[in-house]
C-alpha cells in the first residue's frame, strides 16, 4: 500500500496576544477579599495565567477565558463582569467575520479541526456558501470512516488536460501522446496575496509550505526574487502575455505557468505551448457575465487549467448585478458539461474561500480545486484591519515573521482544512475528492429545500433579502 499522505503539524503559538470574543473586567474597588475567591476556582485556571498587557492596560486572559461566566455569577462583590470585546467587533468585515478569523487562527496555531460542544449556533441559512448543506449517507448507503484512519480517503486532484477519447491507427495502436498531468495531494494551491504587509519572510513561508505539501504557490513575476529559485518546482509564475517573452529564463524549471487573460486566442496559446512544451498553461479568468463562453473558448484553444477568480469576498460583478463565486463557478462548469468538454480541462476557483467547508462546496459546484489567499494571511496572524491597504503599519508585523514559523502556521491551517474535507467526504460516503466534483447530488440547496417543503405549504417565497442576514 502506498504511503499515506500526511501534512506534518506542530503547535505554532501566535506572536501577539490573540483577540478574544469578550473581555473580562474586574476591579479592586468593591472587592470583599473573600477567603475563597471565585477567581481561584476557575476550572480553566485562567486567572493564574494573567499577564499585563501594557498597551491596553488590561489583563490578557480574554483569549483563554471560555465564557462559563462562573466567576461573574458567583462573585459576592459583583466586581467581575464580562462584555463583548470592542477589538473583536472591529475585526475583519462583513464577509470575513470575526468568527471566521478566530477559527482560522485556532487552526493555524494547533493544526486541529475546530471541535466544540452544543449545537450549531449560527443562522439557519445565509448568503454565499451558507445556502447549501452537504449530504450524508445513512443505512441505505455506506459511509466511509476516513478520519480515524480505518479507510483511506484520497484528496489528490489532477492538473492538466484529459483526452476526450483515445484514437487508434489502423494497426490498433494508440495515436498521439497523452497530455501531461500533474497530481497535487490536496485540492488547494496558494494564491498570490491581494493585500498584506508582505516581505521576503512571507513569500518564503508560502513557498516552503507549498513545497512541503507538494502543491503550488502562485507568484506574480514582480515579486519573483532569487531567493525563490530553490522552490521553483512548486511555484507558478503569474505573467501577462507580454511578460512571457521577457521572462523566458524564469519559466525554465517551472511546471505550470499562469497567464492573465487578455484575449488569449488559440493561436497565441499554441505559440506559448510550442515555446514551452513541458509546461502546463493555466489561464486566469476574471469571473463575469461571459466567463462560461470564455472558458469554453479557452478549453477549445487548448489551455490546461482555468483559474476562475472572484473578488476577495467571493463577489462577481457584472452589468446584470452581482453573483457569488459558487454560482458563477457552477455556471462555467455547466457550460463546459453541456459542450461536452468539462473533463478535458482542470478548473480552479478562488475568491471568498474562507473556511474548509468552502473548499468542499466549491468542488461540489464544479471546481476541481481551489486557490486560497486571505486564509494564508490569517494563518500569519493577520487581523484584516486593512491598514496596509492605506499604507499604514501592520499591527501584528506580518512582514517580520520568521519563514519557518509562517510555513508551520500555513501547514497547520491546511492540514486542519484537509481533515475537515475528509470528515465531510466520509459522511458523504465518498473516498475520492475527484468524485466530488460537480456532485450536486451530494448537496442540498436552500432554495430547493424551501421550494420542495415549505413551497408546497406556504406558497410563494418573498424576495431573497430576508434570508439570514
Amino acid at each position: 500500500m502506498p504511503k499515506k499522505y500526511h501534512i506534518q503539524t506542530k503547535m505554532a503559538p501566535p506572536r501577539f496576544a490573540p483577540i478574544g470574543k469578550s473581555t473580562i473586567l474586574d476591579w479592586e474597588g468593591g472587592c470583599l477579599r473573600c477567603f475563597k475567591c471565585v477567581k481561584r476556582q476557575c476550572i480553566y485556571d485562567v486567572y493564574n495565567q494573567r499577564t499585563f498587557d501594557v498597551r491596553r492596560m488590561a489583563d490578557t486572559i480574554d483569549s483563554l477565558c471560555k465564557n462559563c461566566l462562573r466567576c461573574v455569577q458567583s462573585c459576592p462583590g459583583q466586581v467581575i463582569t464580562k462584555v463583548i470585546n470592542a477589538e473583536y467587533k472591529r475585526l475583519g468585515d462583513s464577509y470575513w467575520t470575526p468568527e471566521i478569523i478566530l477559527k482560522q487562527w485556532y487552526q493555524a496555531e494547533t493544526g486541529r479541526i475546530p471541535v466544540s460542544g452544543a449545537g450549531y449556533g449560527g443562522s439557519f441559512a445565509g448568503p454565499g456558501f451558507d445556502d447549501m448543506w452537504t449530504d450524508m449517507s445513512e443505512i441505505v448507503r455506506p459511509t466511509r470512516d476516513g478520519i480515524h484512519g480505518r479507510e483511506y480517503i484520497n484528496t489528490v486532484v489532477d492538473l492538466g488536460r484529459s483526452l476526450p477519447c483515445l484514437r487508434f491507427d489502423a494497426a490498433g495502436h494508440a495515436v498521439g501522446d497523452a497530455p501531461k498531468k500533474i497530481e497535487i495531494p490536496v485540492p488547494i494551491i496558494l494564491k498570490d496575496l491581494p493585500l498584506g504587509s508582505l516581505s521576503e519572510g512571507v513569500f518564503l513561508a508560502m513557498a516552503e509550505a507549498a513545497q512541503a505539501m507538494d502543491t503550488f504557490m502562485i507568484a506574480p513575476v514582480k515579486e519573483w526574487k532569487p531567493y525563490l529559485e530553490p522552490y521553483k518546482t512548486h511555484l507558478i509564475p503569474l505573467l501577462t502575455e507580454a511578460e512571457i517573452d521577457t521572462h523566458g529564463e524564469l519559466i525554465g524549471g517551472v511546471r505550470v505557468i499562469e497567464i492573465r487573460l487578455s484575449d488569449v486566442t488559440e493561436a497565441r496559446l499554441s505559440r506559448i505551448r510550442a515555446a514551452y512544451p513541458d509546461v502546463l498553461i493555466m489561464v486566469r479568468v476574471r469571473l463575469g457575465e461571459r466567463s462560461g463562453e470564455e472558458a469554453l473558448a479557452l478549453t477549445r484553444a487548448g489551455a490546461d487549467i482555468l483559474h476562475l477568480c472572484a473578488d476577495r469576498n467571493g463577489n462577481v460583478e457584472s452589468e446584470n448585478g452581482s453573483r457569488f463565486v459558487k454560482d458563477a463557478v457552477r455556471s462555467v462548469h455547466m457550460r463546459l458539461v453541456e459542450a461536452g468538454c468539462r473533463n478535458e480541462i482542470t478548473l480552479f476557483a478562488s475568491g471568498g474561500i474562507a473556511m474548509a467547508e468552502h473548499v468542499a462546496k466549491s468542488i461540489i459546484v464544479g471546481a476541481d480545486a481551489v486557490a486560497i489567499d486571505i486564509p494564508l494571511l490569517l494563518a500569519l496572524e493577520c487581523r484584516l484591519c486593512f491598514r496596509c491597504e492605506a499604507g499604514l503599519s501592520c499591527p501584528v508585523e506580518v512582514e517580520n515573521i520568521h519563514p519557518e514559523w509562517g510555513k508551520n502556521r500555513i501547514l497547520n491551517l491546511i492540514a486542519a482544512w484537509r481533515n475537515q474535507l475528509i470528515e465531510v467526504l466520509g459522511a458523504m460516503g465518498i473516498r475520492e475528492i475527484r468524485r466530488l466534483r460537480g456532485e450536486v447530488g451530494r448537496a442540498m440547496f436552500f432554495d430547493d429545500l424551501e421550494r420542495e417543503t415549505f413551497g408546497r405549504l406556504f406558497g410563494k417565497r418573498k424576495k431573497r433579502e430576508s434570508v439570514g442576514n
Partner: protein, 502 residues
C-alpha cells in the same frame, strides 16, 4: 409471555400533574435581561417591595436587599402603576438593559431564550414582560414561522380538559400501547457526556411527567434502575454498555444510526475521559480512547437494519423500537425502510441538534435542518399509506414550547429535546463541554468535584418546572386553535404561517 405482557395494564393513564416549586439559580448573581440598580439615596421605605408583583424587591433587615433584577420585566413595566423606578420617592432606582447579553448565547439560542428558559425552570411559569421566549434569531425555519390563530374558535376550558399525551406504538402489533404524558421525551445523553446526577434528575423529571429519558451510548448506570420504566436504552454504533439485561429492563430501545450534530461521523472519547467508572459502564479499559465508529459496521442496508430490529424485539418481547436517524436527502427513504424493518418510532435528528463535542464543520454543514425533514418524511409516509402506523419524532433544534408545537404542526407526533434541558439546569452554551475537566457548570462532566455542583433534586425540579411552563404554553396554543388534543395538531400546516412567504 407476549400475551401476558399485553394483558398487563400499562402505567400510562393520567398521572397527577407534578408539582411546581420555585427553584432559583445555584449562582449568587443570576443573569437577567435587565439590570436594576439601587443607589445610596434609598432610605429603605419599602415602597418598591410593596409594589413589585414579580418579587424583584425584598427587604433584608433594616435595609433593602439587592434587587433580584433577573425577575424584572424591564421597560415593559413602564406602563404599569407599580413601575418602581417611577414610584420610588427617592429616585433611587435606575433600570437598563444588561450589557452581558452581548456575550451570551448565539443566533439560535438568543440571550433572551436562555434567560427565559432559566426563568421557566425556576418558576414553572411563562415569562412575563417583553421577553422573547418563543423564537430565536436564526432567520429561518421555526424562527420565521408563527401560528395563525383563527378568530372566534378559542376554547374557554380549564387546562385539565386538554390532552397532551401521545402514543408511541401505532403499529397495533401486539406490543404495549405506550403513551407519554407530554409530546416530549429526553434525548440520548451518555454517562460520561453528562454527570450521573444530571442523568438521574432527567429520569426523575420524565418519570414525573410520565415520559422517557434516554441513556445515550454510555451504558446503563445502576442508579437508573428505579426509573427503568422511564428510560430508553440506546444502542449505538459502539455498542457500549449494551447487554441483554439493559435491553430487557426497559420499555423502549433506541437504535442510534446518526446524530444530527455530526451526521455521518463517528465519536471519539479521549483516553483521559475514560475514567474507571466510565470504563466499567462501557465495558472498556480505563484510560484508553474509545471510538464509536460510523456507521454500524453490521448495517449496510435496510435488510441488515431489519436484522437488528428483530434481534432487539426477540430479546425483549414487550419493547418498542425507535430508530434515530439523521437527515440526509433521502431521509424519507430511510424512514420508510425503518417502517418495513419493524420499528415503532422513527426519530429524525436535524442537523442543528446538540452534542457534547462535534467538528464545527459537521454541525453547520452536514445534513438538513429538522424543519425540512419533518415535512418530507411526514408527507412521504402519508403517500406510502403508513403514516398512521409510525410515530414520527423530531429533534435537533427544538428549543421552546413553540418549536414543539410547530414541529407537530409540520407533521411530527412529538419531539425529543436535549439542549433545553441542559439550559434549564443552567447551561450557558459556552460550547466548552469537552475542554479540560469538562463542563464548568457541572452538567457535562464526570469530574467528581464539578459534577457535585449539581444537586439532583434541584435539577429534577428545574426540569419539572420547565415542562410545566411548556405544558401551559402548549395548552394555550391548543386553546387558541380550538383543539382539545395535541394529536389533532399533527400535520396541520394550515395553522402555520411562514414570514418569508407571501
Amino acid at each position: 409471555m407476549n400475551a401476558a405482557m399485553q394483558s398487563e395494564p400499562e402505567r400510562t393513564a393520567h398521572v397527577g400533574r407534578p408539582e411546581v416549586r420555585v427553584t432559583p439559580s445555584r449562582f449568587r448573581n443570576a443573569i437577567g435581561k435587565y439590570i436594576l440598580r439601587r443607589s445610596k439615596a434609598c432610605v429603605a421605605c419599602g415602597r418598591c417591595a410593596e409594589l413589585c408583583p414579580y418579587g424583584v424587591h425584598e427587604r433584608s433587615g433594616k435595609t433593602m436587599a439587592r434587587p433580584k433584577d433577573y425577575r424584572c420585566i424591564g421597560s415593559a413595566c413602564e406602563k404599569n402603576d407599580f413601575y418602581c423606578v417611577r414610584q420610588c420617592p427617592q429616585n433611587a432606582l435606575s433600570l437598563r438593559l444588561n450589557p452581558i447579553l452581548e456575550v451570551l448565547g448565539d443566533k439560535r439560542w438568543t440571550p433572551e431564550l436562555l434567560i427565559s428558559t432559566w426563568y421557566m425552570a425556576e418558576t414553572g411559569k411563562v415569562p412575563p414582560g417583553d421577553m422573547e421566549y418563543k423564537v430565536g434569531d436564526s432567520g429561518g425555519g421555526f424562527d420565521r414561522m408563527e401560528f395563525c390563530f383563527p378568530t372566534g374558535k378559542a376554547l374557554d376550558l380549564p387546562d385539565d380538559e386538554f390532552d397532551l399525551s401521545i402514543p408511541l406504538n401505532k403499529r397495533r402489533d401486539g406490543r404495549p400501547d405506550l403513551e407519554i404524558g407530554l409530546p416530549v421525551y429526553g434525548g440520548g445523553m451518555s454517562y460520561g457526556s453528562i454527570s450521573l446526577y444530571v442523568m438521574i434528575a432527567r429520569a426523575r423529571a420524565y418519570q414525573a411527567w410520565n415520559s422517557f429519558t434516554c441513556t445515550g451510548e454510555g451504558g446503563y448506570p445502576e442508579e437508573l434502575y428505579p426509573y427503568d420504566d422511564h428510560v430508553i436504552t440506546q444502542v449505538a454504533t459502539g455498542l457500549f454498555g449494551v447487554r441483554e439485561d439493559t435491553i430487557q429492563r426497559v420499555r423502549i430501545v433506541e437504535f442510534k444510526y446518526a446524530q444530527g450534530a455530526k451526521p455521518g461521523l463517528g465519536g471519539h472519547l479521549l483516553g483521559d475521559k475514560v475514567t474507571p467508572a466510565v470504563a466499567r459502564m462501557r465495558e472498556a479499559v480505563a484510560g484508553s480512547a474509545l471510538f464509536s465508529p460510523f456507521p454500524f459496521h453490521s448495517v449496510y442496508s435496510v435488510e441488515d437494519h431489519k436484522k437488528h430490529v428483530d434481534w432487539i424485539k426477540h430479546i425483549n418481547p414487550r419493547v418498542l423500537v425507535s430508530v434515530k436517524v439523521s437527515t440526509p436527502t433521502d431521509v424519507d427513504m430511510v424512514a420508510v425502510g425503518s417502517y418495513h424493518a419493524g420499528a415503532h418510532i422513527i426519530h429524525l435528528d436535524g442537523s442543528y441538534g446538540g452534542t457534547g463535542a462535534a467538528p464545527d464543520i459537521a454541525k453547520k454543514n452536514i445534513a438538513m435542518p429538522i424543519e425540512y425533514a419533518i415535512v418530507k418524511v411526514h408527507n412521504f409516509l402519508k403517500e406510502e399509506g403508513i403514516r398512521d402506523e409510525m410515530t414520527l419524532i423530531a429533534s435537533g433544534g427544538i428549543r421552546t414550547a413553540y418549536d414543539v408545537a410547530k414541529a407537530i404542526a409540520l407533521g411530527a407526533d412529538g419531539v425529543v429535546v436535549g439542549t433545553s434541558e441542559m439550559v434549564a439546569v443552567e447551561c450557558i452554551r459556552c460550547a466548552a463541554c469537552e475542554s479540560g475537566r469538562g463542563c464548568a457548570r457541572g452538567i457535562a462532566t464526570t469530574d467528581p468535584e464539578l459534577s457535585r455542583l449539581i444537586d439532583e433534586d434541584w435539577a429534577a425540579q428545574r426540569l419539572i418546572n420547565l415542562f410545566a411552563a411548556w405544558r401551559r404554553q402548549l395548552i394555550d396554543i391548543l386553546k387558541k386553535l380550538g383543539m382539545r388534543d395535541i394529536r389533532e395538531l399533527v400535520g396541520r400546516t394550515d395553522c402555520l404561517r411562514h414570514l418569508d412567504y407571501e
